[in-house]
Symmetry: C2
Subunit: 389 residues, 2 copies
């Protein structure tokens, strides 16, 4: 019997308990032993739930139970989650999480502790929800030099943009809908300002190239300024506007990483990924382009990834997978060192050599972010978005 605990009984934590209830028999068959949920750590009152007998409020009960092998951290944030993850690993317990904020900010330290204690710290669910992407990247594609990662990493903003593109709904209205459907938080800043996507592209980069990319070093632009006019112009020219996280290995060995709404040509498979779906494209020097697609959020999809990690950790007791990034990544300066194509719109004379779209919109490039900003000022353009090529 393998014993585990869930910390934080919200959407993800509840989903993990539900997946165990649904699929416990099949999971036990794969593990060769039953998987038993011993504790649920939550400050809320769980006495009216089916899990009343498992509820505890004191982390030290988990920490001090020598039979408890694994803890699911579904608290979120980087305060209690950080402290309890650290202490659980130090107590020799495997930890599985979907907490991208914690992994992006403190994964390096936590993975080092896990290595030292010979346990697993796994976080497949932190990127792409239920979509398998981190394990394929770090295992199946390990014979490649990764050249680029680009993806729709946030389901909430993809839902909002899909509503704007397909139905001409304004950003504000689409956001209200997303909140009503439970896709967006009441405070949607982390989603619509791109921070959630930023954390995910950091984790992907950390794993792909083995150097830490810190979220605060990543140029991050959200979708709050996207206007229906740009949506219409882009559609007319054969593009979709998508919020992308993107990371590239440059020929000199340095990395570029940024988050921004892009014009994506319809010929790119990512352009057709709508609603709350996510898709992550990885380019390797041997495999070419591979894409992973599915629901990037939700209780059961996220719990699916957590459960896959739980099974993996318990199947590899004593020989945990080697994961980690133990140096700083060398990043280029996004502002000056990464030439891109840019969509500009405004009531202006187009810069020479630009590709003319419609309604005062053009595509220029390749030029750096700083040069594009200079063009915006010089020609009095109003909007500026990178274009995926």
């Amino acid at each position: 019997m393998a014993k585990f605990a869930i910390m934080g009984f919200g959407t993800v934590g509840g989903g993990v308990a539900e997946v165990l209830r649904l699929n416990g028999g099949a999971i036990a068959e794969k593990l060769g032993e039953p998987l038993s949920l011993q504790y649920i750590l939550d400050l809320r009152d769980l006495s009216e739930t089916p899990y009343a007998d498992k509820a505890v409020k004191d982390f030290s009960i988990l920490e001090n139970d020598p039979e408890l092998e694994l803890v699911v951290e579904a608290i979120g944030g980087a305060k209690a989650a950080l402290e309890f993850t650290r202490r659980a690993l130090l107590a020799g317990k495997h930890v599985v999480t979907s907490n991208k904020e914690l992994v992006a900010a403190h994964g390096r330290e936590l993975l080092a502790i896990a290595r030292e204690k010979n346990v697993s710290y796994l976080f497949e669910a932190s990127v792409g929800g239920g979509i398998p992407v981190l394990r394929p990247l770090s295992q199946c594609l390990s014979g490649n030099r990764v050249q680029e990662i680009v993806g729709i990493l946030n389901g909430t903003t993809n839902y909002i943009l899909t509503r704007m593109v397909q139905d001409g709904v304004s950003f504000d209205e689409a956001l209200r809908e997303a909140q009503a459907k439970g896709y967006a938080e009441q405070n949607p800043a982390a989603d619509v300002e791109g921070l959630d996507a930023c954390r995910k592209i950091c984790i992907l980069s950390d794993l792909a190239w083995g150097g830490e990319v810190r979220p605060e070093a990543v140029h991050t632009q959200g979708i709050t300024a996207i206007d229906l006019r740009d949506v219409a112009i882009a559609s007319g020219a054969g593009y979709r506007i998508k919020l992308l996280g993107r990371a590239l290995a440059l020929p000199d060995g340095r990395l570029a990483a940024y988050v921004a709404p892009h014009l994506v040509p319809l010929s790119c498979p990512v352009a057709g990924v709508d609603d709350v779906f996510n898709a992550i494209m990885i380019r390797g020097n041997a495999v070419g382009d591979v894409m992973f697609y599915g629901r990037g959020a939700g209780d059961l999809p996220t719990a699916s990834a957590v459960m896959g990690d739980i099974i993996d950790a318990l199947q590899h007791r004593g020989s945990p997978r080697k994961l980690g990034w133990d140096r700083d990544a060398a990043l280029v300066d996004f502002d000056t060192e990464l030439p891109l194509y840019w969509y500009l719109r405004g009531d202006f004379t187009p810069p020479p050599g630009s590709q003319i779209l419609s309604d005062g919109a053009v595509i220029v490039g390749p030029v750096s972010h700083r040069e594009a900003k200079a063009l915006v000022q010089r020609f009095a353009a109003q909007v500026m978005l990178p274009v995926l090529r």
Copy 2:
């Protein structure tokens, strides 16, 4: 230093050597030791290649080298490949392959030997070429009950169908083009008659449900009878014709598996997968639908998957991943027990209740294959294809 050999120096074997040449430094970093290609077993004369000093013609040299840890089987077929794989595993060597024919027909026996000898027998490259799909299925999605697998599993036939759909080229002409481009063999039967896709859906089913599905038990229909009229009618009605391998878990616990050209609605992400690309959709009861997309063949993409398996096998020496199927799958009778929707075309009076398309084509269902064949006879229809819903 980890020492390995390649058996069979054709497209895949040559690709593995090339990936090692390209990425050997990065691979050594992941392994913590250099990966050294010791032998290439091939009956051809390799004296004019850069690998002349590694060429051997006698398998027993590999078998009897106690320092040789791993063998890549890239011979193909199920004769010498079977014998050498068996002997390599019995000699305690890990074996990695892309040989779907061998895995589909003899995987059960070979995995049992591997388990007994505590070595790995890995075959990620046998399905989807470079696309990570078997490891995500057996690891990341292991917390799910898999409900359905459906995919474009053969790049050659997808290229042919894409040319027919997009450019109105006939089957015969598209096949000649595919041969000229090196996508199709001079004897294209295994591709165009669906056998290659059949072997792949068997391997996916074996892993997803743990029971062996034998290729000869799977209803398999190829694309040789696809007519440009059906392509045009399908396009006009919002469908693409795609050769799909499909496997379903039915409520009574039995499986259905078959291969056939389907009408796929454009709303399904698989419909937009063109040219030589493959895509595999997996539906789990927790994760919902996830899709894996990329190049399903080619020397470097396939070698990428082989190299991922090599690294995995060597990283888990002594604790190989538990894989296998050690019972027969319970299959429904495709002819009578699997109700589907069917596209029928002919110069006939449509059956009552059918959905009328154009040019004498209708969609009927859900009815069994046998009932659909009876409708074909009764109404003198000429063409009959399943429709994906």
